[in-house]
Symmetry: D2
């Protein structure tokens, strides 16, 4: 966890306080169920709930763990220090992993909920900017090269659609890890009734894991972290777009530059897209975590503990980083300074060449063969490209062209509105009926 | 593609024949739509369909591509060689990526269908072996160390449940990439009516991509290949289990060893788990492809073509390898030779120590403190561990133990049936009511 | 292996012909050593060498392998078909991996030699272009934003220096895998004298592996493929630079565009940087192979065969792809069309703002505090940025500035030569004394 | 950084205190050089050194950074608060990255030195245990299946050789990043004499970067982190071996189990290889960091800052984790409890079958054809395998065998010493002459 890339709510999900609180709730709910089954006295369960509003002494737990080298035993020992000897009924028939794994999944569920809210904020920002710039014309580019006109609104809209897909993926990922298991040392429920698992899961908002070993199967977590990796890659996608737009020669948009901010110690005129560059790096980290998560799937027999250290890193790191990245991107989108006039300037850089596709099509439709049409367009395009001529003027002066298309027909091909006529249709596809 | 790890049906999905056939169908359906819109003559569309039963000359297409350095133009040129000059109406208003991307997704859809069928076969094998060995007792292990009894059926059942989740993930992944786009050079439909996209997609079994640029967004493909990576990791999980079971000292199961097979040029007694070792390696490859797929998401503006070379590798390699791995694993599971007698031998290796957890619990329930119970169990367990004593005998001879538990109570803790009593419940969770 | 990204020499390294030829040579040299030790008859070794100029029948070997399911036995059987019954002396005391692993390393050595030659060609091209454009001024950019002037020659020179480091890494990587092992079933030389290993390695240009198990340790190969991954990432670095230079708005260079080449089926004016985009994707693949190679390091005990399937992919794929990428990049560099006039145009885009750093420094040196200097520069820079004013004119009109710097002093700060004065020094660092 | 996987010395390398101290030293040495060049007053350089023994107020620096959003300016402002207005001469002609990048490399150099020392400790432990168990016979295994005898000393020795290679790789990696750059905003030395770079680098133990841009090229760091990834994979290799040895059925060695340690809350007899399982997970993390490091290589033009966030994670995380892992592994090796008697038990599990390779060879050498020899050995081996017979007894009773080999000859093939005769030779290869 890198403090500068961490926000408090997500950090809290991974705090020792949260962890021990969740352990406690799992154990206490399990006591309720065991009492209902008659396995332990009802009074024992009630006694355990007395700690509901007590604070756990984390230093004390750590101290016990240093001696016993076992975290759950350390916690249970401390719990007995708080509520007294009836704590011996706690954890009956359970194995440490019942607590640890169910807790880890609960933390991931909470993390997911924060991430889903983050995505909602980002989606709202993208939607607002999309409608704001629905008709702001800019040149579409493939390979970094001017292609045909599009609009800034469509750019925002496609990021919206992409992030919406990530939201769906994250919902699926949340469902993947929203399970709990209280099934004992090798998952046979030998020492504990499945009712305990059902009760605890219901109380904590989880589904019982249909079949577990000592642990909850890790393919679930691999799928979870892979989904985060894909979402991070989409963040990179938006970040790269903005970085390109802010390039000196393009300058179609800029990250918001606060008055007190200094861009560089040496070049005061520079406004660098540092936020989106930063997001590009964060994306590399989050998707990098997907692989160790996949390596965690193959555990030996009913479990080995190799996954645990990995999860101590990627549980917090992937969720905290993605949470931060989503929030940062939302801020970037909300405050992005868009320059429509520069978009227009860039669009007109090659005096009409952007309309060559339409001319080509018109020639074909006028009966010229594909090969000839291509040759005619290319011949005139090259004059624009190499000699800086105006494309429409050149076409009008080319007898082979004018033999197929009249001046009026040619001029009609240079109308920008032609390219924007389906923007509304696309917006409706993305955002639904207004 | 490595021939020895490739099966013909999946290889065919990625053949030039399939690719050109799909290009053709996309173009021909597009012609139908364009004719319906009145953009091209109805007769032109009909003419194009004449090639429906013609074979494309792949060498000829390659030859044209070598000259034009453009694959779609090469294909269209060849098509006009086949059906005549009316082919000039083909591809009107479309851009190459409309064809390429829609085709790529169609190939992934077909690959998904094969993989889903593979998974069904694997699931059937796992289910059959699970019921066959529902009550075959074996020792459950955590950390590679004996823990408590479980059954071989539960092992198969959890692999079944895990692979079932992978099937669901793959269905989702299939849905992710089951889209088509015919939206023109930058996705604005400037030169083509969205109706064409709708018509082609419907005809080919795809959903129209709500908003595309020149290309279909690559977050979809990242999610797809990530799902394959998770599935591969689950294959590794099963493979590792079998490799462990086949270890000389464990020998609870073996891959089927065909009569003619030689295990080693030097050691004729060796039967090596080479199929599952092989699967372990294949899993590394398939999940390794998830990362380049994620790097493919961030394309420049309305597209760059950096994703294309990656997809030429991972499109075939990931699906062909996973297809092969699933089929190989199915064969391994179907023919796996299970040794129940060795399972029993291993289970009894430490003369009753496996029941220590039950004794511990019984002591606690008999009123002994957790710490004391632990101490009592540990003290006797160590005699078994270090001196090869029998656990039950030692417990019966320990007055502190017998002060809490009678001989009969102790003996009852050594009953194997205790551990199997919930196998049916778990099976019902996994497979449903019988 | 993707045929379009493969060159014949590297493909040949991985052909069955090469593999069997290397197996043969290893076995034949081993026979020589065994004969020298008196383990087998001298005549047997001589007989084996009779096959030196015979062609192996690969179909026949495959046929035998299908029956025996063992590749080395299949090969040896075929060898005995060629040279007669004395072939029974071949492979004595050896294990299959002695042949397979030594062969694999020999293939990697040959691959390395081709890659080193590729790098030399690339280095030569980079050096030539560096000197050609040593003094071609262009704007240096950080964050995609104009910073200070540099030269195109420095750009080529730094790619040269980077690729030179990759060459050194590749030499090290070659040394890593230039070992052979003929040490028997578990590496103890129980059945074979270490002299055989020494003899074969010497004959084949390898070092004996100091300690092997059944296999050569795979940390060597992990290091090898990691080095390829770093080299590929450097290729991406060059590719990204060129893609940026070719952007429509920048257009400081273009990939060579052959006369017959069509950039797009629809937009004839487009010249897309498709080669460097392609290289970007290839880099993703090659570095992706580093991870499975690292996962291959941890084999069970004296070996498991999980590494083998991985190496069947990445052995050929990583080396063939990198070979192709290096050659492609060399071609791109050699033929790159550089536009000095566009570089000059871009440099002057912000009328002198590029010199702000020098003015800032001059103010500080003239006794103005850092904070005040920054404020003065920023104030005038903003007028250029926001109102399109000329930077020098504005500075001359700012009394706070002119109180510290005279007109002549200000003008001197706008001299481009100032930025180029150390180009020769840097070139000497990179290329040595001319 | 995960506190439980972090050791103080390595954590200190990455503390803010260390960072600011290094920044200070870089700036102060640069002042010396600038004074020597006459660019700044000698007194200014001397004044700066006054802060040599002052403590930097990190909270104050953070406070300034929150306002200026620029870390180096914040530091320089604080420095001027400490030493007074002459601090305005600090950082002249330099750019932030000159300080940041040189500092980062210095931190990596220090980290490398700690890691090299870690490796030395590990190597010493491995060597000691290798000699201790040079002649402790155990069965060698391929595919997890018994093969031929080897010794525990050879196992330690090969880990020694592998780790020694990693040490060499780390030395190379250290050299890769032991460079500094003080070359200005785009690396042209326009505003600063290369002498400053040379002076600072010499003072800090670095090499001047031959050609930099605003930043030091990141292929160096990619190579560095890749080397850590390979080393981590070798740690996994050792860890997997120990985990296998500690398996209940194998039990040839155990991690040291301290008296107060509780293995499981439920099964007191369990001693789990938790340290090596943990190392397996840590290895996944460290090698996972290699990929983002490779993605960092391709920066835009003279730099973008996407690498920075990645390095904030992997700089500390990779080095701290590897440092911890090396130390943990050293402890595991030093205290590993080895059970020679269990090794002997395992070796004899299949009553002589382990000697089948020798018998096979002897038959061949006695003139039996390879195919017949194989058949004879296999036939008798199967009786051992399937009916639990004794191999030597069966061979003696097989007339086809005894036709080729006498009883005495057969018995000689069952001598363990045969397998150990080259242990000394191998030790000499690995450790040199004693």
């Amino acid at each position: 966890m890198i403090p500068r890339y961490a926000r408090p709510d997500m950090v809290a999900v991974w705090s020792p306080e949260t962890k021990f609180r969740l352990w406690y709730e799992i154990e206490a709910h399990a006591c309720d169920a065991q009492a209902e089954l008659g396995v332990i006295p009802r009074s024992a369960a009630e006694t355990v709930w007395k700690a509901r509003d007590m604070a756990f002494d984390i230093d004390r737990i750590d101290e016990i763990e240093r001696e016993t080298k076992h975290d759950v035993i350390a916690f249970l020992t401390h719990l007995s220090e708080l509520v007294g000897p009836e704590a011996r009924f706690v954890h009956q028939g359970m194995t440490s992993s019942d607590v640890l794994d169910t807790c880890f999944n609960l933390q991931l569920v909470r993390a997911s909920d924060l991430l889903l809210a983050d995505m909602d904020a980002l989606l709202a920002a993208l939607k607002r900017r999309a409608y704001e710039h629905k008709d702001t014309v800019r040149i579409g580019r493939s390979h970094g090269i001017h292609a045909e006109p599009t609009t800034m609104g469509l750019t925002f809209a496609r990021f919206y659609a992409e992030m919406k897909r990530n939201r769906t993926r994250l919902e699926n990922a949340r469902r993947e890890i929203a399970t709990g298991a209280i099934s004992g040392a090798v998952g046979t429920f030998a020492n504990i009734d499945p009712f305990v698992e059902e009760h605890v899961c219901k109380a904590m908002g989880l589904e019982p894991e249909p079949i577990s070993t000592q642990v909850i199967p890790r393919d679930r977590h691999a799928a979870f972290f892979a989904a985060l990796g894909v979402a991070a890659s989409s963040i990179e996608n938006v970040a790269i777009e903005i970085r390109h737009m802010q390039r000196t020669e393009v300058l179609e948009a800029e990250e918001y530059f606060s008055p007190g901010q200094k861009g560089s110690s040496a070049m005061p005129h520079k406004r660098n897209p540092v936020l989106t560059e930063n997001l590009t790096g964060l994306a590399r980290m989050v998707r990098g975590y997907a692989l160790p998560a996949m390596e965690n799937v193959a555990l030996w027999h009913e479990r080995d503990i190799s996954h645990s250290s990995v999860e101590r890193y990627i549980g917090p790191d992937a969720t905290i980083t993605l949470d931060f990245a989503l929030a940062r991107l939302t801020g970037v989108i909300e405050k992005l300074v868009v320059y429509p006039e520069n978009m227009e300037r860039n669009l007109n850089q090659f005096r009409g060449l952007v309309h060559s596709q339409r001319v080509l099509l018109a020639l074909t439709q006028a009966g010229v063969s594909r090969e000839d049409s291509y040759r005619l367009v290319q011949r005139n395009a090259m004059k624009v490209w190499e000699q800086g001529k105006d494309f429409l003027t050149e076409l009008k002066a080319d007898p082979e062209v004018t033999a197929a298309l009249s001046e009026a027909e040619l001029e009609e091909k240079f109308d920008l509105g032609y390219h924007l006529k389906r923007v509304d249709v696309i917006f409706e596809r993305v955002f639904g009926k207004a």
